[in-house]
Amino acid sequence: MLLLRQCMLPDYLYIIFFFLLGIAFVASAFVVSWALRPKAPNPAKNSPYECGEIIKGDSRIQFNVRYYLFALIFVIFDVEILFTMPWAIVFRQLGMVAYLEMAAFILVLAAGLFYAWKKGALQWQ
């Protein structure tokens, strides 16, 4: 536990510091511009842009389900790549057995991709 704390804590400190730094960067730009800019709102200016026409209906409409299908396939592949990362690091030391095991895993996934393809999930119409 002590060892973990010694080697990992400074790293996380840096990550948190850069996170706060990014927030400070954006916030300071907003504050400076808030102090300098003119403020003159009017109803016509504040209506959403629709090429100058009067707005029709709500902009948050129902969307096509195909976006959702792609998101689902993405989640599967993203998790798969995360599983493969540790294997990739030690892959040269483990040799042929580990390669074949991972090849089986990837082929199963490829079969899944092929199934989605045949089912028409990858079709954008």
């Binding site: 730009a29 800019r37 504040n46 948050r60 892959f91 990837i106 990858l122």
Partner: protein, 314 residues
């Protein structure tokens, strides 16, 4: 503690200067390709143009359109810009100039930069504008689709180098850049195409196609909020080029010149290629773009992983 603050502030300075330089370069490159002059009035060859632009954007009124989703509208600029700053933690400018050589560097930079899609989608949803929503939806679909071949090609580099640390990968290329190996050259090609789509550049700029969506997800943003989207877009270009230079082109390694010069030459060379593509190629259609990601790039990347891995063991 002091060094951490200094390193952080110099990273911020680099982001600001690099974004300004890239905006000037984009305008100049587009002008040269189209046989125009580009900005000429402010300073020599218009070099002070980005500063004039920054002052103009600072002084612009901040227009909040009616019916915005307040939280996501305000948080979206943070969500696109903060990951960009965080990514600079592990970019190796030379053997000494790196803020922190994390032992999971590649995983860290890939995961942090993929957070930008959240900001883009929040901007699209929060704006209460039909163009913004369409642009945000398209952008989210595009970025997550091209994330898969991108990560699969990065995986091949990790297999070759046997480490996730950025400096470790550069040291593994001491006897020849990774791009010289056939399977990694293919991985570089897949990476570069996917990365172009990740940063919404032509030929994959359908989320902000001017002729149909005005400006896509940032149509309603003005003033400094718009500037943040712009800074994030151009710094993302630098980040993907820096990752490509590190993973495939040997990073800061090179003869005669100091390491940081080599690194910047490689990174900005790749950015120039991105700009060259933008002003040369036409835009692809949405269905072509999605089927290219899933039916061409992903199967090739999977196959490359299997065949390339086989030859690595031989």
């Amino acid at each position: 503690m002091m060094t951490m603050v200094l390193k952080g502030l110099s990273a911020l300075g680099f982001i600001a200067v690099s974004a300004m330089f890239l905006i000037w370069l984009e305008r100049k490159v587009s002008a040269w390709i189209q046989n125009r002059l580009g900005p000429m009035m402010t300073g020599f060859q218009g070099t002070l143009q980005p500063i004039a632009d920054t002052i103009k954007l600072l002084l612009k009124e901040d227009i909040v359109p009616k019916g915005v989703d307040f939280l996501s509208w305000w948080l979206a600029p943070f969500f696109v810009t903060v990951p960009v700053v965080m990514a600079f933690l592990v970019i190796p400018f030379s053997s000494k100039w790196i803020v922190l050589d994390l032992n999971v560097g590649v995983l860290y930079i890939c995961s942090v930069t993929s957070l930008c899609v959240l900001g883009i989608f929040m901007a699209g949803w929060g704006s209460n504008n039909k163009y913004s929503l369409l642009g945000g939806m398209r952008s989210a679909a595009q970025i997550i689709s091209y994330e898969v071949p991108l990560l699969l090609s990065v995986l091949l580099v990790v297999m070759q180098a046997g480490t996730l640390s950025m400096q470790g990968i550069i040291h593994a290329q001491a006897h020849g850049w990774f791009i010289l190996k056939p399977q990694l050259a293919l991985a570089f090609l897949i990476y570069f195409i996917s990365a172009t789509a990740e940063v919404n550049r032509v030929p994959f700029d359908i989320p902000e196609a001017e002729s149909e969506l005005v400006a896509g997800y940032h149509t309603e943003y003005s003033g400094m909020k718009f500037a943040m989207f712009f800074v994030a877009e151009y710094t993302n270009m630098f980040i993907i080029s820096a990752i490509a230079a590190t993973l495939f082109l040997g990073g800061w390694q090179g003869p005669w010149l100091p390491g940081v010069v080599w690194f910047l030459i490689k990174a900005y060379g790749l950015i120039f290629v991105l700009m060259w593509m933008r002003w040369t190629l036409p835009r692809v259609r949405m269905d072509q773009m999605m089927s290219f990601a899933w039916k061409v790039l992903t199967p090739i990347a999977l196959l490359n992983l299997l065949v390339g891995g086989w030859f690595m063991l031989k």
